[in-house]
């Protein structure tokens, strides 16, 4: 990013190619509507381009990129009148004991996983997607989302527990 800041457009292309897929899926699975996801995705990159003059190495580029993405998506939810709140106060569900009925496998399991992912509260889904798509650590997720590390950890655990359960592996 520093190279791009100093006028090397090729450096931006390298960054873009590296991050485009994960960021696109992060946005798409956050907002769930492809046209909207494309619009937000483009806006996020525009912000990166416009902010390049202010970029300084205070965090990994990935963290900075997803911080911008987090803010843009949060703005989107706010414009739609949605407020992001922690959805679970209790502990995440404990792994269930062995159940005799056969677990669903294959396509059906994936469909349930997709449905469970879509049904996750936004903050939990965000933590999960950041973890899966960008490979961010809890500390990085916390930094990108403006949360504490404990909150990021809690969100991720809830998300994983629900997804595990949806896959019939709880």
């Amino acid at each position: 990013m520093l190279a791009y800041r100093h006028g090397d457009a090729g450096a931006f292309e390298t960054l873009y190619v590296r991050h485009k897929g994960p960021l696109y899926r992060f946005v798409l699975r956050s907002v769930k509507v492809r046209a909207l996801a494309e619009e937000l995705y483009q806006e996020i990159w525009m912000r990166v381009i416009e902010a390049r003059g202010r970029y300084s190495v205070q965090a990994k580029f990935t963290t900075w990129l997803y911080t911008i993405a987090h803010h843009r998506i949060t703005d989107h939810w706010r414009k739609r009148g949605l407020q992001l709140v922690e959805a679970d106060d209790a502990d995440p569900p404990a792994p269930r004991a062995y159940e005799p009925e056969p677990r669903a496998e294959g396509r059906q399991g994936l469909q349930r996983l997709a449905a469970a992912l879509a049904a996750l509260p936004e903050l939990q889904r965000e933590a999960f997607l950041l973890h899966e798509e960008s490979g961010m650590t809890l500390a990085e997720i916390a930094a990108a989302t403006g949360a504490t590390e404990a909150a990021a950890k809690s969100r991720l655990r809830y998300a994983l527990a629900k997804l595990r359960e949806a896959m019939g592996d709880g």
Binding site: W45, I49, E50, G109, H131, L138
Partner: protein, 202 residues
């Protein structure tokens, strides 16, 4: 990331959901924008540097002028007030000479004395208040300290309040000095266009 925060099965399931990529057109639009930015930014900054500097200086000048404005009405009100009408017009022909040397009060005083006789019938009460106002405005900062030095008692520099001014006009009328009263009232109206004037001074 602690091991318990990972779930390989969930991760594998998630990856199996698909790996969508942005449309090619979107990639191209973003990359094109990224490429054009560096040159676009430099040109306007260079091109606008001089106009922006000029604009900043103008804004500063207007700001300073606006800050000085409250002083002018005081000078005008002093000049237009009835007490002032009765005082000599001290420096009518020499404002340029005086303003050129604001730091030389002694020289200004001399110039003012030399010029005083040339002022046409200045000491009379009928002297035009607008002329006095013009003098006061032009002589500005130079005239005031000089007047103070030559005798503050002769010239009351305290600005009149509207009420006091109207009272003064009424007094002029009582004394039969109708023309002065009318002129003073006209100046009063210019000075306080929104002031509701009671019947008596008219």
């Amino acid at each position: 990331m602690a091991e318990k925060d990972r779930d390989e099965k969930v991760s594998a399931g998630y990856r199996a959901l698909g790996s969508e990529e942005p449309p090619r057109a979107l990639d191209e639009a973003i990359l094109a924008r990224a490429r054009e930015r560096p040159t676009r930014w430099r040109v306007p900054l260079t091109r606008w540097r001089v106009p922006l500097s000029i604009a900043a200086v103008l804004v500063l000048a207007v700001g300073v002028t606006l800050r000085m404005l409250p002083q002018r009405p005081e000078a005008e009100s002093v000049a237009l007030a009835p007490q002032v009408i009765q005082t000599p017009r001290p420096a009518a022909p020499v404002p340029a000479a005086e303003t050129a040397k604001p730091a030389a009060p002694a020289a200004s005083r001399e110039l003012a004395r030399a010029a005083a006789p040339a002022a046409p019938a200045a000491p009379t009460a009928a002297a035009a208040p607008t002329a006095a106002a013009a003098d006061a405005a032009v002589a500005g900062a130079v005239a005031e300290p000089r007047m103070r030095a030559e005798g503050a008692a002769k010239l009351s520099v305290a600005p009149l309040t509207p009420e006091a001014w109207l009272a003064r006009i009424a007094e002029l009328r009582k004394q039969g000095r109708t023309r002065e009263a009318d002129e003073s009232l006209a100046e009063f109206r210019k000075r306080y266009p929104d002031y509701k004037i009671p019947e008596s001074p008219r």
